[in-house]
Amino acid sequence: MTHDSPQAPLLVVRNLTLVHRATTGSTPILRDVSLSLQRGEILGVIGESGAGKSSLGNAILGLLSPDFERTTGTILFNGKPLDGNNERQWDTIRGRRISAIFQDHTASLDPLMAIGPQLEETILATNDTMSRRQARDHAIQLLTRVGIPDIDQRYHHYPHQFSGGQRQRAVIAIALAGRPDIIIADEPTSALDATVQKQILYLLRELVEETNVSIILVTHDMGVVSEITDSVIVMRHGEIVEQGPTSSLLDAPQRTYTRSLLAAVPRLRVSNPGERKERTKHLNDPPLHVGSMEPGTRPILVARGITKSFSGGVFALLRTRPQTPALQDVCVQLDRGMITGIVGESGSGKSTIGRIIAGLETAGDGKIEIDDTCFDPSRSGSRSGLLGKVQMIFQDPAMSLNPRMSISESLRESVRYGAAIAKDELSIVGTMMDRLGLARSLLPRYPHQLSGGQKQRVCIARALLAGPSIIVADEPTSALDVSVQAEIVQLLRENVRERGISMLFISHDLALVQELCSSIYIFKDGRVEDAGSSEFIFTHSQNPYTRSLIDARPRRFTH
């Protein structure tokens, strides 16, 4: 990147050790971490949650919570040490020399302030000489540069009026406002969908080439690392496991842990285009509705003509833009005992259809038939006989368990009020916990005392204990670490098969869906864009949107 390297590194971290004040004696958050960053370099920091990678970023930004204490080590920026506690010094560093991009683009922006002004105030705060008018012009210029269309009209729009990808673009524009030397990007794309993810990564790469900024990219996703970084640091339990140039580290990982991280990435199997073309010749009329594989078995669930829009309400008259309906005439069918996948971007309506099927939301119109019982999804009271028959597993296990109920209480409640009739709650709960690899000693604990993977296992146990015939799993692994993801998917698959439960698996991850599902629906803008058996979707489908989703996967992890 830099024409005059070798030069002195822009940032050097030497032997950094961080401990949590409250828990003295426990393992440090960071132990003896050293790294150096060149101008114009993208450095990937990869590891699972709890590896200390975000704390490393926060330490460089001076944003560690006061509970953390730096026991040893120095951080040198341009040769000058950064002291974690000197706020006066930070005023000249933060935003101007080192800025940040966070994971959650929704949470990073003040929901009550329009996008333009949020960027404008940053420009004014980080450039001493700029006038209001210049700041506004600069803001428009930056927002255009990061790829937000029609910014002249949308300058005063609020964050919720932008799509996820556009919000993250705005966050990037804000990070660039003070013309920083370093951007700490903490999981900048993990809240985005495959196609958008790729665009954002390329935008970052372009910005590095244009402005010679350096980026520290904190992530848990090997795909992201392989896509744009120059060098990588692999972290685990606060220590650096391995570091080196990206290409050599990915091609020849030295450490077992790095290899296991690489192996855990779900891979997409795509046949080569020639083969694909030949096969499509036989399929002049691709089926849009997935039929059951074996004739004679009736599908367990048929949803027809489901429509849903989020409109109406007090201030509907004040609306400034046309509302797009969340779902438009959607038909979905679940084969008995099979796993059906729904793939789509956020906002495509994939979660909404799951929630309607689970009865958590009412539809505007349509008909749902579960196990030959027909009901009207637009009336919330019409499915009383189905209580417990459809269970749901949510994305974030931390938010779907009652924090004030012990694990035992949560699970027993599910047995008591589910569809299954059970005499001895405790022994049934215990057997289920054994089956899902949860120690029975966890029973009296509360959710916050469990790891993410354990919590999601509890959620799966809770769903299974109710004795459902259908499980709707909405992104059940995307809040979990890569290595845990594989186990959870395996557990789900085994348990659902054993019990003959049909599952609707909602995900944005094509590789995962391919691995798991027998048939797949692809959602876009509230409609079913493409549908078919897994094989059809991945090898024969000519739908341009399906193709773009498949092509958006990082090449390294596509076979």
């Binding site: 933060r94 929901p111 980080t126 201030f315």
Partner: protein, 323 residues
Amino acid sequence: MMTTIIGRLSQAALLLLVMSAIGFVGIHSVGNPVYNIVNIETATAEDIRNATIALGLDQPLWRQYLLFMGKVVTGNFGTSYIYHLPAFDLVMSKLPATLELASIAMLIAAPCGTLLGLLAGRKQGGAIDRAILKASVFALSIPSFWLSMVLILVGAITLGWFPSGGRGPTVSLVGQEWSFLTVEGLRRLTLPALALAIPNIALIARLARAGTIEVESQDFVRFCRAKGLSPRRILFRHTLPNISIPIVTIVGMQFGGMLAFAVVVETIFAWPGMGKLLIDSIQLLDRPVVMATLTFVSLAFVGLNALVDLLYAMLDPRVRLST
């Protein structure tokens, strides 16, 4: 839009109906107003019977209620048994005094409480936070009669800056008599307004503190720091709007409460407000005035709620667009 307005209006109508029934039965079961109207020493049984018939109290309760409701629909709450004036006019004549007292109390309480809450929440567990929390427990738990008397003791007797009670001279504006337009009127307003404001400052401060702690822990505040904004700008430009919705709600509710139920303060400071009128009327079993006051208070709450909803939409663009 239309459905929401219709929904709101029918809710309000239902609320008024229920409230009127409860109020009517309640005041009926307290006692017979006839004994407060005739002179109990000299009245004969005949006098009492005549008075009972004249007031319509000889009818069964349901009949009385229906007759009352029939008149209310035409806007007539009846004539006060005691003052012999139309009940609703009587209530309205007390409105300016109550309104100016409640408004000034809230104008003191809302900014002070919010500011204290922001300061406390910004450094949770710090010296300022602990001081404000302790003071707020104190302010919330002391009875208002004691607070009022201490204010009189300090402000009126020891310092002698403010009069100890009464409304004093008024100035006419848009057909009503107001006292906040003169210096003397403001002096007289100060102590009762403070007595009403202090518990509200504590309440709002605690609410603002909780909101500040929650908002400051969110990512966008961290992002604001990362992008180089000053702590003051973050506090006032980002945190404050984000904590304002619960504050607006509680300000609306407390303001409604102050209109009708500031009885203790109004009594101690001899302030001729609606709370005092309500309590006096209940004691004298002046049914038309009690009913008129309760109806007005219910209407005020419905109106304040609608106002709070409109403020939500002004404060939060997401409310404006989605719900």
